[in-house]
């Protein structure tokens, strides 16, 4: 096996890893804020890809240009999710919370299948196409830009949460809902913002992936699983942990696929999850 092939796998692992990191960050933000795991996260990703796809198919907007619209749509979707579902189950048992978001995931996926059939779709001749070659390593342009945009979005998310007033208010609510309320931070509004931002992250990732990935109703399943693992790996609620965890998962996936068998990618990631849970259950990295 040549050095180039391994380098190729590492580069592509890094690139997908950055995308996983952003998707996981959205999940982690919501979890850290209200202790609820969004089991519909993958379906939200699928919706964002379809949004981007239809903007292209119906309006002729290239996915790159429609990114702001996709983000806004997804943020709106997040706020609506909070408004119509999550706010009713804030005080419910964890059992009921899991069932509710799981129900949402079933609902969204089946509805998408009903509306759009399970067919595979893709964007023809997007603006970002082709690949560049650096030292015998090929880098797909759309993948490269997608990972760059996701990294940039990740950095912005991190700065937002740690440096802005709203971000600090989010953190305060995450740490102690009641105390934050006393300080005049309305938790319900914070939760809605958290859902908006969390799914906004998914909008960025989904919009960029539309450039090169097949769009179909089950597309979110694996991404969501990897995001769940990334959140556990990075430490539940930690955002910066998602970055490292996403990259680790991206690398394990692509190197495992190269060295062993690509059809068992899920199992390698599952194996990491098991190892982390057994040896370092608090996650590899701390909170925020």
């Amino acid at each position: 096996m040549s050095f180039e092939i391994i380098a190729q796998a590492i580069v592509s692992g890094l690139m997908t890893g950055l995308i996983y990191a952003l998707i996981a960050a959205g999940l982690s933000l919501i979890f850290g804020l209200m202790n609820i795991v969004n089991f519909a996260h993958g379906e939200h990703l699928m919706v964002s890809m379809f949004a981007s796809f239809w903007l292209w198919a119906l309006l002729g907007l290239d996915p790159v240009f429609s990114i702001p619209i996709t983000i806004l749509l997804m943020a709106l979707c997040g706020v609506l999710t909070h408004y119509f579902l999550i706010r009713f189950i804030l005080k419910a048992k964890m059992l009921i919370q899991i069932c509710a978001t799981f129900g949402l995931s079933i609902f969204i996926r089946a509805l998408a299948q009903f509306l759009w059939t399970p067919d595979f779709r893709n964007v023809d001749q997007p603006l970002l196409e082709g690949r560049i070659e650096i030292a015998n390593v090929f880098i797909g342009q759309p993948q490269f830009f997608a990972s760059l945009v996701c990294l940039a979005a990740f950095v912005m998310l991190y700065l937002f949460v740690t440096r802005t007033e709203t971000g600090l208010a989010l953190q305060a609510t995450a740490q102690d809902r009641e105390a934050a309320e006393i300080l005049g931070i309305p938790s319900n509004k914070m939760f809605a913002i958290g859902w908006g931002i969390g799914l906004g992250c998914v909008g960025v990732a989904g919009g960029m992936m539309t450039n090169y990935f097949f769009i179909f109703t089950d597309v979110g399943v694996n991404f969501a699983l990897f995001a769940f693992v990334a959140v556990a790996l990075g430490g539940f609620g930690s955002i910066i942990g998602c970055l490292y965890a996403g990259i680790i998962i991206g690398l394990v996936e692509s190197l495992g696929g190269l060295l062993i068998d690509p059809s068992f990618k899920l199992l390698y990631v599952f194996a990491i999850y098991l190892l982390v849970v057994i040896y370092k259950p608090q996650g590899l990295f701390g909170r925020y």
Binding site: L85, A92, I98, F102, F107, L111, F264, L274
Partner: protein
């Protein structure tokens, strides 16, 4: 003079509401004689599905309702049961009855292997792990050549109906009685379990694990016990279903819809209540089978839209499930006297 304490001591330890007991006995007798009236194969099939899903949902109710841990990939144990008995029969000629037992053993081993690392931690870790398990098993069996990979295995037909080979070609009635037996035994045993030391301690773990451990309960051990019992209940249904349709393949046996359905039916009926799963199954299975007949095959998508919707509505408006609409005194030990 009789004190309140003396009076309390004479109260029955569990529900002895005569109406409930009479109703249960009548129901059992009714189910036993039902095939004698010569119902059409469709009704027998419907009842078989109801028994099967009632057991499967009860299995989920044990882990989720009794111990409070959510399993999102419970179909894995169904598939393990189905494949164990079928592979043993197809490749080694071992009777499915033994296969059922071994399927239970395998399911228990898998539950232990997953439960030991995952159930020490908060429920989210376990829920995510179970989601991964559900999908991993499907992926592995789709590519595992020895068990027929994606196309699965056909169970060879015996020339005549045979109890040893667990195949009946002339009538569905024997299948009906086998599923009925498993259903009755499962519900009886789970009822015994929930009224035992283990059942009480599991409910303690579910309601407050810290308080539970202050009372000498090894929390992770009890969660694992619940998971293993749950897996053992689930596996035989896979084996029996394989014998019923005489084929095993990954898409049917490790279908993610199984995991969704057992969860949905239990939550719909009433999670944590022994009769909850039965209520959910008795409502959903006939609706789903009738719509299949009258509306034709919808490809599952429409069903799932409603399943998802129902699940969310129940979680928001009636987390205790439909059974909570029934008068309380029928369901619990007599209270508030």
């Amino acid at each position: 003079m009789e004190t309140v304490l003396d009076h309390a001591r004479q109260e029955p330890v569990w529900n002895t509401n005569k109406k409930v007991i009479v109703a249960l006995v009548a129901l059992t007798l009714g189910l036993i004689v039902f095939p004698l009236f010569g119902p059409s194969p469709f009704y027998l099939h419907l009842m078989i599905l109801i028994f099967m899903y009632a057991v499967m949902s009860q299995s989920w109710n044990v882990i989720a309702g009794l111990s409070g841990q959510i399993s999102l990939g419970h179909g894995a144990f169904f598939g393990i049961g189905a494949y164990t008995s079928s592979v043993l029969y197809v490749q080694y000629g071992i009777t499915p009855w033994l296969g059922i037992l071994l399927g239970m053993v395998f399911a228990a081993l898998v539950a232990i292997a997953i439960g030991i690392p995952m159930l020490r931690l908060s429920g989210h870790y376990f829920a995510i792990a179970t989601l991964l398990i559900g999908i991993s098993f499907q992926v592995v069996f789709q590519r595992w050549e020895m068990v027929g990979a994606a196309s699965g295995l056909w169970i060879p037909l015996t020339e005549e109906s045979s109890w040893l080979a667990l195949q009946f070609h002339d009538s569905k009635a024997p299948y009906y009685y086998i599923f009925l037996a498993f259903f009755a035994v499962t519900y009886l045993l789970v009822w015994r379990l929930s009224n035992s030391k283990i059942g009480f301690r599991l409910r303690a773990v579910r309601d407050d694990y810290q308080a539970a451990s202050s009372l000498g309960i090894d929390v992770s051990r009890y969660k694992i016990i619940a998971y293993v019992i749950s897996a053992i209940i689930m596996a035989p249904m896979g084996s029996l279903f394989a014998q019923y349709i005489l084929i095993v393949d990954p898409d049917r046996m490790f279908n993610l819809e199984i995991s969704i359905l057992v969860l949905l039916m239990t939550v719909l009926g009433g999670i944590g209540n022994i009769w909850g799963p039965l209520v959910g199954v008795a409502i959903l299975i006939p609706i789903s089978e009738y719509t299949r007949i009258y509306l034709g095959g919808t490809g599952g998508a429409v069903d799932l839209i409603f399943y998802g919707l129902i699940l969310m509505l129940i979680c928001v408006f009636r987390p205790a499930g439909l059974i909570s609409f029934l008068p309380k005194h029928l369901l619990e030990r007599e209270k508030h006297r």
